[in-house]
């Protein structure tokens, strides 16, 4: 246990601050859709060109090989500079696909894809969930049959974030229908413009079309696009999920901290939901603001604990679900607080600074990428070692 600021950290922080001051886009990021994606790509490209992309990626893959501590400093300065949301439409590529390719990809796959992800030349989306499977990810049924040098894919995926403007997809397909549920799955790089791929955006309750449903009709994907081995996709995917549940959401957390400070400032200067006094003078609001402030700090603290474990060499484990569960539920509490702060202003979709819309969008936090219920199962069973829940075989 120690806290010290090294000379390297100090210099890095200074450089980051200077660069951000000079380069952060002046125009606001569009809230969603293709416009948001265009903005994200331009901004990522600028970071890439400036040498600020892939800070913690290994050097041999185009990154800078810096420790997570420096990555964290970058995000801190990033938030301080009020740079655009770091958790954006490039998240899957940068935080899922690239780590998977680094861990399990072939040298050819790595050479072709990694830099294009980092420079935002290519946008990636995920293709894990299916309409019938939901939280039971391994129940996926999208089939892929080997035909010559190709996989021929038929089926559909759902909850594919940003699918309609992505170039590539992390695709999980069933290559052996006779194997047990978790076997017989293959992880493959899907190209979104292949013949037979049909992408339909799904409108969400906040009016955005962040998610898509993707249909595959005899889509031919070369076997050279398989990552890891055929039928070994579950293991490949789980390593990616472990990564997501660890430190990848660091930027998000720091943004949340900033958001809470904004709420406190707002509450000092604006009437509360009762319309009679400044919001901060209402003890119920005060108390929720104090809790939000303390809990966002604790969120950062558990991430620092994860980084400490990573520094010790621990592989990402099920305790990542603790971070994820706490993070997602806290996000909802904080955004509900923001919504409540605006009183009847919450009747407008944008409300104050979009807080109503964000309140609605945060509903996905405890659902997407594994519901809170699933996270609690993982924590209970894999982290605490409690017995698995009994399952009755179908038809029993």
């Amino acid at each position: 246990m120690e806290l010290r600021t090294t000379q390297e950290e100090r210099l890095f922080r200074e450089k980051a601050r200077t660069w951000l001051e000079e380069n952060v886009p002046k125009e606001p990021r569009p809230p969603h859709g293709r416009e948001a994606n265009d903005h994200d790509r331009a901004w990522q490209r600028r970071q890439f060109d400036g040498g600020w992309a892939g800070l913690s990626w290994p050097k041999e893959y185009g990154g800078r090989g810096l420790p997570l501590d420096l990555q964290l400093i970058w995000f801190e300065e990033y938030a301080r500079a009020e740079a655009p949301e770091a958790t954006n439409t490039l998240y899957v590529g940068l935080n899922h696909a690239a780590p998977t390719l680094i861990a399990s990809g072939t040298p050819e796959q790595q050479a072709f894809h990694l830099e294009k992800i980092l420079s935002a030349e290519n946008v990636w989306c995920q293709g894990f969930s299916e309409p019938g499977a939901g939280s039971d990810l391994a129940a996926l049924r999208t089939r892929a049959e080997i035909d010559g040098d190709d996989l021929v894919v038929n089926g559909s995926k759902i909850w594919t974030s940003n699918g309609h403007y992505s170039h590539y997809q992390e695709l999980l397909v069933r290559t052996d229908p006779d194997a047990p549920k978790h076997k017989g799955i293959t992880w493959v790089i899907g190209q979104m413009d292949l013949p037979g791929v049909d992408i339909r955006p799904i409108r969400n309750m906040a009016g955005g079309d962040h998610f898509c449903e993707v249909f595959y009709n005899d889509v031919r994907i070369p076997l050279s696009s398989v990552v890891g081995k055929v039928n070994d996709g579950w293991r490949v995917a789980m390593s990616t999920l472990g990564f997501e549940r660890g430190t990848a959401s660091m930027a998000h957390q720091i943004e949340l901290t900033q958001f809470v400070e904004n709420l406190i400032d707002y509450a000092r200067d604006n009437p509360g939901p009762d319309g009679r006094r400044m919001a901060i003078e209402d003890d119920t609001i005060r108390s929720r603001l104090a809790a939000a402030r303390a809990e966002t700090s604790a969120l950062k603290a558990i991430t620092l604990l994860s980084i400490s474990r990573a520094r010790r060499g621990d592989a990402p484990g099920p305790e990542g679900s603790i971070t994820r569960l706490f993070h997602t539920e806290l996000m909802q509490r904080v955004h509900r607080l923001a919504y409540d702060l605006t009183g009847s202003g919450g009747l407008e979709m944008e409300g104050h600074r979009g807080w109503s819309r964000q309140y609605l969008e945060q509903m996905r936090q405890t659902i997407a990428g594994g519901t809170s219920e699933i996270q609690r199962n993982i924590i209970g069973e894999r982290h605490l070692g409690l017995p698995r829940q009994p399952v009755i075989a179908k038809g029993a």
Binding site: G134, A139, I158, M205, S344, I367, T371, V391, K394
Partner: protein, 329 residues
């Protein structure tokens, strides 16, 4: 004796309304993924006028049907269940206030459907109008007051994008000097019961929706309702629905009998029903998982309406304060 179950006559009124709504205004009318056109709300309001619902609790000599607060509250539950525009409740209240003021012709126009009314809600010093359309009258519930305004009291209407897609929303400024009628305390009670009734109706609707889904949606080889995480959420929805309904009906009867504790019971009803509605509509989304987050599911419409309804009576804070001031039984 307090009896909280509808008698045969009351059940008939409820069934008639539910039948009409199921026939002419089923939930399927709401394309969940699109904003709902104003004209469609107008059609539903017209159907309800045809049934005489806006004068349900007015005496026959005032152009009403002669039922009371109990029947009217039961009907509000059905309207909440079908996500009927709150302008139906506004028309009921406007008609009653006009009748109280001896303006029988104007009341009759509302009851007959040739004129319509809408709710307003305070937004700082300005106001929102909810489903304004061509409403001739505006009902504002704020604090301990209910006031009826003529349309002319509203300045220019500025359309804003509402949270609730099924209802249009405008900003305006009401000239409070132009009040048409200051409603009586009885009309305030009626308004609170109607709004709480809509909250109860949508609470019951999402409880049923969640339970139905939990029975058919399978995960890990079994219906998700077999898992305690989901089953216990459903149980909590049932508790919320049962308590909100019981409190509402008790409050309605107490209001009708003008008991000393009526105000207390009615404020308790708005509080319990609104907490139930907001918590239940939220949990219904969670139980539905991914599909519940999409605009294609109707789950979000209930959540948004539960928030909208809160501001028809001026927000939960005002309810709490009124409740603490009110005399308990």
């Amino acid at each position: 004796m307090i009896h909280l179950l509808p008698d045969a006559d009351q059940q008939q009124v409820v069934d008639a309304l539910a039948g009409l709504l199921q026939d002419r205004a089923p939930l399927e009318r709401l394309k969940a993924s699109e904003r709902f056109p104003d004209t469609a709300n107008a059609e539903v309001l017209g159907e309800l006028a045809g049934m005489g619902i806006y004068g349900l609790a007015l005496p026959e000599d005032a152009g009403g049907v002669g039922y009371g607060p109990a029947e009217e509250t039961l009907c509000a539950i059905e309207m909440g269940r079908f996500l009927v525009t709150p302008s139906a409740a506004a028309a009921t209240l406007a008609a009653a206030m006009l009748a109280d003021a001896g303006r029988g012709d104007e009341a009759a126009a509302l009851i007959g459907g040739s004129a319509t009314a809408c709710f307003a809600s305070m937004k700082g010093k300005r106001h929102y109008l909810v489903d304004a359309r061509d409403a001739a009258l505006i009902v504002l519930v704020q604090g301990d007051h209910i006031t009826l305004y003529p349309r002319a009291a509203a300045g220019s209407l500025q359309p804003v994008e509402g949270l609730d897609w099924t209802i249009s929303l405008h900003q305006t400024t009401l000239d409070t000097a132009q009040a048409a009628v200051q409603g009586s305390p009885a009309r305030l009670r009626q308004a609170l019961l109607l709004i709480a009734g809509m909250q109860v109706g949508l609470t019951e609707a999402v409880c049923a929706m969640a339970v139905d889904y939990a029975k058919i949606r399978e995960q890990f080889g079994q219906p998700i309702g077999a898992f305690q995480a989901i089953k216990h959420k459903c149980a909590d929805l049932a508790v919320a629905a049962e308590t909100a309904r019981a409190q509402l009906l008790l409050a309605a009867l107490a209001g009708a009998a003008d008991l000393p504790e009526a105000d207390f019971l009615i404020r308790a009803a708005t509080l319990v029903a609104t907490e139930a509605a907001q918590a239940s509509t939220r949990e219904n989304i969670q139980i539905h998982g991914g599909i519940g987050y999409t605009a294609e599911s109707r789950a979000h419409l209930f959540l948004k309406r539960a928030h909208l309804n809160e501001w028809l009576f001026g927000g939960l804070w005002a309810q709490r304060e009124a409740l603490l001031r009110a005399k308990a039984a």
